[in-house]
Subunit: 171 residues, 2 copies
DNA sequence: TATAATATCTAGATATATCTTGATATATTA
DNA sequence: TAATATATCAAGATATATCTAGATATTATA
């Protein structure tokens, strides 16, 4: 159950954006957001997210179905069962919840957009693999390097970045 | 509770100079200083300090959470709970406290800087900052790049890595 | 100055919600 | 019959917060 089920208002006015969305409690916003578009059943939601993320994120049934059950308990959705599929429709109550948490929901959505809206995940995955290999090397250097060496390394990174920016920019 | 809850400025000349940074009562300044940047919850603060110190300092929950609770009691922060996370926002009262203790706070901050950079952490932190900037650029590229461009980027990263490996290796 | 009292901190145990992995069940479809 | 679509469930991992016990530093007191 949502831990904050019973929490009443009294919140601060501006909530700063956390830099890495899709943290612990965020899946419910994603799912409700999908239900806002149109009614769906659980499996459909799983597929949809897998597809939207180009296969990089496929939520587990153990996350999706209990969440839907919770929505049901809290009146955020109504459901109809047919042919073994339980289809969930968002209710006014659910819409209200989304509106109330607009900041969180927007954050999550924009994060997803940034992360997922590209076509060439496969190729990019190789790039990211190389990027993380770099991180390993940097980790090895930690604590043993002197000022001059760190300066050189930093310059290498800056150069790499500007070269990459050129490639990205020139279209 | 903060031992000096009720002291005001007149006491300040009693204060001996501290030579080792981050002494007993100093954590509160560090935390409030983080909250000045943006609202955060406890776990986030722990992670942030761990990251900023490159893993050399990770405050224990038994230090962080009671401190936040104290802030709350004294009106230095307001908090909201959502998704199981209690997010603390600094209040005017808290800002005033920081300002009032500016000397202490600055001292702590500069000692941290000195101490951490003494261990190479400061410099390495700049390297890591640059590294993460690179990640941002890569993120921008996700959407639009073709095969040739990703190949080039990957090569840039590979080159950067091997250059860095040379620097690290040659001691 | 010595000792006691108190505050702060570390380490780690405990609690709870969320999520992942993966197993199982059943119905449908190829 | 095999594969796919759909749902349920259990076990374990992780994120986050709370709490306790003990160590150490600081202040108060005798």
């Amino acid at each position: 159950m949502f831990r904050d089920r019973f929490i009443r208002g009294e919140r601060s006015f501006h909530r700063q954006s956390r830099e890495s969305a899709f943290q612990k409690g965020d899946l419910k916003y994603v799912i409700l957001d999908l239900l806002k578009d149109k009614p769906r059943h659980g499996y459909e939601i799983i597929r949809e997210l897998e597809e939207q993320s180009m296969g990089t994120y496929k939520p587990s049934p153990g996350a999706v179905y209990p969440t839907l059950q919770m929505f049901e308990d809290m009146g955020y959705t109504s459901s109809t069962e047919r042919d073994g599929k339980k289809t969930y429709t968002i209710t006014d109550e659910g819409l209200r919840f989304l509106a109330e948490r607009k900041d969180s929901a927007d954050e999550v959505r924009s994060h997803i957009k940034r992360r997922w809206s590209f076509k060439n995940v496969g190729r990019m995955a190789m790039v990211m693999k190389e990027y993380h290999a770099l991180e390993n090397v940097l980790g090895r250097g930690f604590r043993t390097l002197d000022a001059e060496q760190t300066k050189q390394i930093r310059e290498i990174l800056i150069n790499a970045r500007s070269e990459i920016e050129n490639i990205i920019g020139e279209e």
